[in-house]
């Protein structure tokens, strides 16, 4: 190849790849701009604090915000201990080259790839029909109490879905805790569990929080798993029990976008709902990024 052609091909390849990166960023910008432009005006205090009115053609989205918050809160409470302790096992307790640890890892990788709608089927088949019916039978409920879609079952379904997120980020956080800290603690006579509770986990705390935040942002946006495990089209009252159905920002978006009798009339409300959902997930992701960069910088500064 002549030097001229060589340079030209190089330039072409560089511009082509730069173009690809640019297109991705541009698409993101278009999405954000479009939703912000059309949704911003409608996000008012009344919109955020009122229930829907006029058959979803007016009013606000407070029940959906409340439902999303309650759902993700319960999910977080369920997933964090399990996820963190699994990561602790993998990084702190598993013997090197342990077969069991390897199987756990394979399971976690595959769990992360299971389609979200299959989690929905699992929630229905396992939590509602198996556990729920079993509980009703055991507790002697005449009517269905636990064997129906509700807040608890939807949260647990989401907890299973976000388990890999928590495990992976906690393990990364544990890896960032210097080995010296552990050996120093053990050398002072602390047991392994004392070292874990007072040295390793506090050291890994920012990373563990990052995992929690990422799990919440993922869980808050998922709609497919809650379609038949608890989300409701419209409810006049806020959920009060663990077996209550609830409204949800993402499900609300889906219903208004696809089943509204008059899409043009609901469009402004729809855009504002989407904007709220998007701001919520972005804010969470941003928090995760900030915690992560700060920990990395601190870790880099310490060595």
């Amino acid at each position: 190849m002549k030097p001229g052609t060589r340079r030209a091909v190089g330039l072409a390849l560089t511009s082509l790849t730069a173009l690809a990166a640019f297109v991705i960023v541009a698409v993101l910008a278009i999405i954000l701009f479009n939703i912000a432009e059309n949704g911003a005006a409608g996000v008012t205090w009344t919109f955020l604090t009122q229930p829907p009115a006029d058959g979803m053609m007016g009013g606000g989205i407070f029940p959906a915000i409340f439902g999303t918050a309650a759902l993700t809160l319960l999910m977080t409470v369920a997933v964090m201990p399990v996820g963190v302790l699994t990561a602790v096992y993998l990084h702190e307790y598993a013997p090197p080259h342990s077969l069991f640890a390897r199987i756990v890892r394979v399971a976690v990788v595959n769990l992360a790839g299971v389609p979200s709608i299959v989690f929905g089927l699992f929630g229905l088949g396992f939590f509602i029909l198996f556990v729920g019916q079993g509980m009703d039978r055991a507790l002697g409920h005449e009517e269905m109490y636990w064997a129906q879609p509700g807040l608890l079952w939807a949260s647990l379904t989401l907890a299973v879905l976000t388990l890999p997120v928590v495990i992976v980020s906690t393990e990364e956080a544990l890896r960032a805790v210097p080995m010296d800290h552990r050996t120093a603690s053990l050398a002072l006579g602390a047991t392994q569990s004392q070292t874990l509770a007072r040295v390793v986990l506090p050291g890994a705390l920012p990373g563990i929080l990052t995992g929690a935040v990422l799990a919440i942002s993922r869980g808050a946006g998922e709609v497919a798993p809650i379609l038949f495990t608890g989300a409701a089209y419209f409810l006049p009252d806020l959920p009060t029990h663990l077996n209550s159905q609830f409204m949800h920002l993402g499900y609300h978006t889906y219903v208004m976008a696809t089943q509204s009798p008059d899409v043009e009339a609901t469009r402004p409300l729809l855009y504002s709902t989407v904007l709220v959902l998007l701001l919520l997930t972005f804010a969470l992701n941003l928090v995760a990024v900030i915690i992560r960069t700060r920990t990395r910088r601190k870790a880099a500064g310490a060595h």
Partner: protein, 329 residues
């Protein structure tokens, strides 16, 4: 020490406090190990309980008649002029052919891959090889942001904004079609392909690049002929992972594809995918009916497809690491 070697070792007798402590440590370690079972248990429970609800299809005589495997996968005798493959499980004579669903899933998935693979892989190549450090550090979080957009929002964007553009550009009759769903899916899987490819590219050791440059190759020759081939299994894994996500993604296809069970290879026609079918129909189905089992059976198929793709992807990712570290890791 010398004495210890010639005599059998005797465990030192522990004080009661020390023994309690040892016991407590064992209990804690046991509990933590028990917790680690949850991930495996979840995966096993998912397959058991999704398959269990699908089992009715094979055990129940009525269901076996209404939705046999041959009715699902083979052409049926129908009056001339009618399609032999139909998905109409709630009509008077239920028609339960999975073929339209496979076609729809394949169509939307292929469109999304055609768009997302070049964008994701080239974007990753740019970030890993050509971009200045500053730009690269900006690019990664921005694409992570794209990954953080809930799929229902992408579905909404496809439905509200992209549909008119796509319809006008390609002169389609319908605003909701396979092309639109595929493009919407591409938005969801580009970040996956980008991130995994970028990881694979940056895992290529610096010595490869330095050797190539030292031999007189230009940076692009190094990137194209050395770094890219070295990272090839990892990039393949990224594409397989993206493919798996596209097959399983539900909300975007549900909102943008039109959901009609047509068999055609035209991208302007509506399409109905496996995952969207479950989402659309499970709400109104009678628990335990053949239709209900059928939807769970689709779930089993989705689980198996994505499971196989995940196993392939992770074995390829492992291969790239082993190759680049010379088997050290």
């Amino acid at each position: 020490m010398e004495q210890g070697l010639s005599q059998p070792l005797v465990a030192p007798s522990l004080s009661p406090a020390a023994r309690r402590r040892q016991l407590r440590e064992k209990v804690i370690a046991g509990l933590i190990t028990l917790m680690a079972f949850t991930g495996i248990a979840a995966l096993i429970l998912i397959i058991i309980f999704v398959a269990k609800e699908a089992l009715g299809l094979f055990l129940d005589a009525e269901a076996r008649h209404e939705a046999s495997l041959s009715k699902m996968f083979l052409a049926q005798d129908v009056p001339a002029g009618r399609p032999a493959f139909r998905w109409q499980p709630v009509s008077k004579v239920p028609k339960v052919s999975m073929i339209p669903l496979f076609v729809g899933t394949l169509k939307t998935t292929v469109v999304s891959m055609m768009v997302a693979v070049p964008l994701g892989v080239f974007g990753a190549l740019f970030a890993a090889e050509f971009a200045p450090r500053r730009l690269r550090e900006l690019l990664k979080p921005v694409i992570e942001l794209l990954a953080g957009i809930p799929s229902v929002v992408l579905g909404f964007f496809a439905l509200m904004v992209m549909s008119t553009v796509v319809k006008d550009v390609f002169h389609f009759d319908r605003p909701l079609n396979a092309m639109l769903a595929g493009l919407g899916l591409a938005l969801a899987i580009v970040p996956v392909i980008f991130t995994v490819s970028e990881d694979a590219l940056t895992a290529v050791p610096r010595s490869y690049r330095e050797a190539s440059l030292a031999l007189g190759a230009t940076p692009w020759e190094t990137a194209w002929k050395v770094v890219l081939p070295a990272a090839a299994p990892g990039i393949l894994a990224a594409c397989v992972l993206g493919f798996g996500r596209a097959i399983g993604e539900t909300m975007i296809v549900l909102m943008a594809s039109g959901n009609a069970d047509v068999i055609s290879w035209s991208l302007g026609d509506s399409a109905r995918s496996l995952s969207a079918t479950i989402a659309a129909e499970m709400g109104e189905v009678v628990v335990g009916s053949p239709h209900y089992s059928l939807l769970f059976f689709i779930g089993v198929q989705l689980f198996l497809f994505t499971f196989v793709l995940n196993m392939l992807a992770s074995s390829w990712t492992r291969r790239v690491v082993r190759k680049l570290t010379g088997g050290a890791a």
